[in-house]
């Protein structure tokens, strides 16, 4: 447990460093893949149709949602920085601290955040990852103990800690359909008459960890799960996984 504490202290120092300098971590790539079941019919009977989805579909959804066609035309990387304090969300939604910022990057658009504040001062986002980050002691995304589990089981070795918990990945084409931390949360369905063309949810076990190697700290995570989906306004049941890897200078 001593090693974990040391790592936690190091990570906390790193987080504090980030809070002041805002250059603590380098956002790392996010990758999603999985399968989607949709309703079909054959011979007068309902049948399930199974398709796969990869990162290309995520990019397609983001391109449709943001209106930026460069996301699919160029080689685009979706990036995530779990340690970043989300000022946009914190400024527009009072009473909560938010961590974790998503970006996309390509040769045309450069580095763009996947959330922000519109001209009316309202927060918007296209993707969120909600979990309690035990390593950084932060609430990531729109984590809410009523909707996302809190318990964590930790494994450790030299300069490395791995945490087993749970999380939610929510990708949505309506940028105002983000989850809220006050139990006003949404999934990718039209239960409340919420019709958005594209949305994916994956809710399940999340394994994440931090390791320090020399002067570099690496944060990795993998979420495996299932949930609702909407695709061209059609209902889906999806399952799959999402992984991320972010690097940054190790705290001194």
């Amino acid at each position: 447990m001593k090693l974990t504490k040391i790592l936690m202290c190091a990570l906390a120092v790193g987080a504090a460093t980030f809070a002041t300098s805002k250059v603590y971590a380098v956002p790392g790539p996010v990758t999603v893949s999985g399968t989607a079941l949709s309703q079909d019919s054959k011979g007068g009977y309902d049948v399930a149709k199974k398709n796969k989805f990869t990162q290309k579909i995520l990019l397609n959804i983001l391109a449709q949602a943001t209106g930026d066609s460069s996301i699919t035309n160029k080689k685009t990387v979706v990036l995530y920085d779990p340690a970043a304090f989300n000022e946009n969300a914190a400024d527009s939604i009072e009473g909560y601290d938010f961590y974790g910022v998503f970006y996309y990057s390509n040769s045309v658009a450069g580095l763009q955040t996947l959330d922000g504040i519109d001209i009316d001062g309202d927060y918007y986002s296209y993707i969120e990852l909600d979990y309690y980050n035990w390593l950084l002691d932060e609430y990531e995304g729109f984590w809410n103990g009523d909707s996302v589990e809190y318990n964590t089981i930790v494994g450790e070795s030299k300069n490395k800690a791995t945490v087993n918990g749970n999380g939610i990945l929510y990708i949505h084409s309506d940028p105002y359909d983000y989850d809220l931390p006050d139990r006003d949360y949404y999934y990718a369905n039209d239960w409340d008459g919420d019709y958005q063309p594209y949305a994916f949810v994956m809710h399940g076990p999340l394994k994440y960890g931090g390791s320090i190697s020399g002067s570099t700290m690496t944060t990795t995570g993998k979420l495996s799960g299932s949930g609702d989906g909407l695709y061209d306004y059609n209902d889906l049941v999806v399952s799959g996984n999402a992984s991320f890897k972010a690097k940054g200078p190790a705290p001194e």
Binding site: S33, N51, K52, K56, N60, G67, V77, D174, D194
Partner: protein, 213 residues
Amino acid sequence: MRPKFVFALLLLALLVLGAAFFLKQYLGNGATPPAAISAPVDSNALASVAPPPAPMPVPVVPAVTHILTPEERQAAIDAETDRLQDWSMNDDPASLSNILADLTNPEKEIREAAIEAAKQFDSTNAIPTLKAVAANTTDTEEQIALLEAADFLSLPDLPPGNIPTQTREQMKAAAQQARQAHQNRLQQGTQSQNPSSGTQSSPDQNAPAGPNQ
């Protein structure tokens, strides 16, 4: 007294000879050149289980001739997983070959990244190699992941969506309306009356059409 002296002298001589013989044997072995500690490796050359894919992998990292420190080892793993990420976004045979070669990399972290990269590359050409590597893997979890990846690649793709984006005002109004409905439902405690369940009375048949429908 004299025979005793001769006997002691002979015994001493025998001991000296034995010691000399032992030292010769020992020093002789010690002078043998030591075996190589680590074989030269490159980023993909550590594959040892599966048959190599058709196009030969392109070596990326220069040969390593010394034992890696934990930091160097982790850096090499990170560099290779970064390359796998790049290759997974390409569409050329060489990239696929590199990805498939890493399925048998000695580093588990790289092998796991290679499986995900093979899925992202999204080519059915990877299926035979994934199955072949699975057949030669003793790690049950990895075997399952390899076979699942092969199964995954055999599925048809979800077609690219082509619903154009709505206006920001439309989306904001839709979200606000849904939030209000959500709040009303929570207050009224009508969670059990799910209008969306079932396929026979799909909500999409009765609900208002989407903004672009």
